[in-house]
Symmetry: C2
Subunit: 377 residues, 2 copies
């Protein structure tokens, strides 16, 4: 029997957090939950505490979860605690950055689902991870696919082919897109995810953030990362090697597989609760180039990634704010790329920013975008 690894789940009440706990429940001889951190959903956190009996908890709400007798730690304390073997970082947005840094500085295995931290501070995080021998295991299905395809290879990839479902509005014209409602944007054709990432998938901003993330995770120039629309979301991404050989990783669109792989790597464990591809029912896999004109967020993100400095941080902040404004029906779907583009055009970047500077840019850009729409949200 393998040692039982102690997992801290930061963001345990969100979509990735809940699915992480499902995976752990299915593999009780391999993993235990030592820490749970949530935002304001303290009722779900209370349920999770009673089921998993963690030693450490964190919550953002003023009211503690009922019945909790655990030790309260800050997110950074939990991410770096000596008793934690694996940190699953599943908080969304900028809140992930400091915890990510704490985990890599402590040399933890980090199962990273928070893409903003790598986008905003990829250089700092990858440098600290290397320095402290922290292993970053991507939880995004695309980056997990690339990671799996690279496993065992002696050389890095020549090219990365990042697949994209194309989102619910694939094939829409800009005119059609202007009429899109939050309700429509929250219905993703293949993946069950949180609200922010679902809207980002609809604008293709999500794919743009993933390009930046892939650049940092796999030390790959942006020009060697290609986005390919693949509506079935069966091929999760591909890697092309120096000799022209291409490897792809496939699976049902279910986040529990990349989550489990990040926990069990380099082993794989049988888990009968995970769905499997059924080749009796897969008749075709389709591919097409992304529509950069209808979905300008993709290009905005790649450009911000290429420019570097604090551009990616400004991108994340502008997008998160614009998505909030869209979800609260203050702006149109097509205003999201417009606001992000304007914020980036006006942005003044600094080179090699510190985490504090990055978070300052984040706050400033949020304010700026709110002002742009004459709003004080």
């Amino acid at each position: 029997m393998a040692d039982i690894k102690r997992v801290a789940v930061l963001g345990s009440t969100g979509s990735i957090g809940r699915q992480t706990l499902e995976v752990i429940s299915a593999l009780p001889h391999h993993f235990s939950v030592i820490g749970l951190a949530a935002g304001k959903n303290t009722s779900l956190l209370a349920e999770q505490i009673s089921q998993f009996k963690p030693k450490f908890i964190y919550f953002q709400d003023k009211n503690p979860p009922t019945g909790a007798k655990c030790e309260f730690l800050s997110l950074e304390e939990m991410a770096s605690h000596p008793e934690v073997d694996i940190v699953v970082l599943a908080t969304s947005g900028r809140w992930g950055l400091k915890s990510t840094l704490a985990a890599v500085k402590a040399g933890k295995r980090l199962a990273l689902a928070n893409k903003e931290s790598l986008v905003m501070a990829g250089e700092i995080i990858t440098k600290e991870a290397k320095l402290n021998k922290s292993q970053i295991l991507p939880v995004d299905s695309e980056h997990s696919a690339i990671f799996q395809c690279l496993e065992g290879e002696k050389q890095k990839a020549a090219k990365i082919i990042l697949t994209a479902s194309g989102g619910p509005f694939r094939g829409y014209s800009p005119t059609q897109l202007a009429k899109v409602t939050p309700e429509q944007a929250l219905k993703h054709p293949s993946w069950q995810m949180g609200q922010k990432v679902t809207v980002d998938s609809a604008t293709l901003m999500n794919k743009g953030l993933e390009v930046i993330e892939a650049g940092w995770l796999f030390d790959m120039p942006f020009d060697n990362i290609r986005v390919l629309v693949h509506p079935q979301s069966i091929i999760h991404s591909m890697v092309e090697f120096a000799d022209g050989s291409v490897k792809a990783q496939m699976g049902m669109p279910d986040m529990r597989l990349p989550i489990q792989y990040a926990l069990t790597y380099p082993e794989r464990l049988e888990n009968t609760t995970l769905p499997r591809l059924d080749w009796d029912n897969i008749k075709e896999l389709n591919f097409e180039p992304p529509d950069f004109d209808s979905f300008p967020c993709l290009k905005l993100a790649i450009e911000a990634g290429k420019k570097g400095g604090t551009y990616p941080a400004a991108l994340c902040a502008a997008d998160e704010t614009a998505v909030e404004l869209f979800l609260s029906k203050r702006i149109k779907f097509t205003d999201i790329p417009r606001l992000v583009g304007q914020a980036l055009a006006e942005h003044k970047s600094t080179t090699q920013p510190t985490p504090e500077e990055i978070l300052a840019i984040d706050s400033q850009t949020r304010e700026k975008v709110k002002k742009m729409v004459g709003d004080s949200l």
Copy 2:
């Protein structure tokens, strides 16, 4: 600069042999040709000798190639010679068996394109390879794909999904198949190969032999090997792991890629002469189950593989003889599975046969099939 590896190419004038020499020509700083062995095409062998200047040669013909001043070795001597680093075994049919055994017993790296030797004597060959630390690198695109997908994985595969183009007669009814001519059978939709393997691809016997080969190479029960028709031949095969994750290896249908990988493994080398997948032009990949009724050779092969003993040797011999009879227009296309089926039904197998017993079964079965058609070929 890496050491230059010395390669002996057995079967140098055949399709795989010629493509091996193309790969070596493109990578002159990594490989040199120390040995060339051919059958009766001594004029092409003479050209190859003048281009590659091997130290050792072998030829079957009575007349030596013009201008050859090389040392003559037997196939087995060449396959096991201390100065040879890599043996490319590209002879076809039963002739590969003794050379394969000589190479694995000498602990060579063996780039194996001859599938009959593994089909006929998989147990002996894999046992000797293990014992003598000989590395068998498959040259078949399917097995190379599986090998590449398994690289770096800690566990063996849960399932192998062997893709098949379906051959030129995919969708044909038995009535249509009965009318197929050798000329039609020799036109393969995706691959450039020798005559025997091209006809085997048309009957799906080739895929059946590959199932048996995969069973031995990857220590996989036949029930965990699935054949999937994929007409574009872009996905060369796939592997499913314990957690449900599937890896696929892809590339243009060009044998030079798996040949090169077998030579350079575990490294990959850039080779601008190799074609690359162009995702601007790949719109869809299709899949369907194989048609076991119209193509009975596939089932016959898998059954022979499951039965073991000398059944696979009888299968190979019966098929090779039937294909010769078809190519010389003595029998119909649909007679190939009929004759193979009859030969297997009448076969009396022995368990754990020696190489000599296997070769004896081979000769007996050939005679038997010829008698079946009242022919003394």
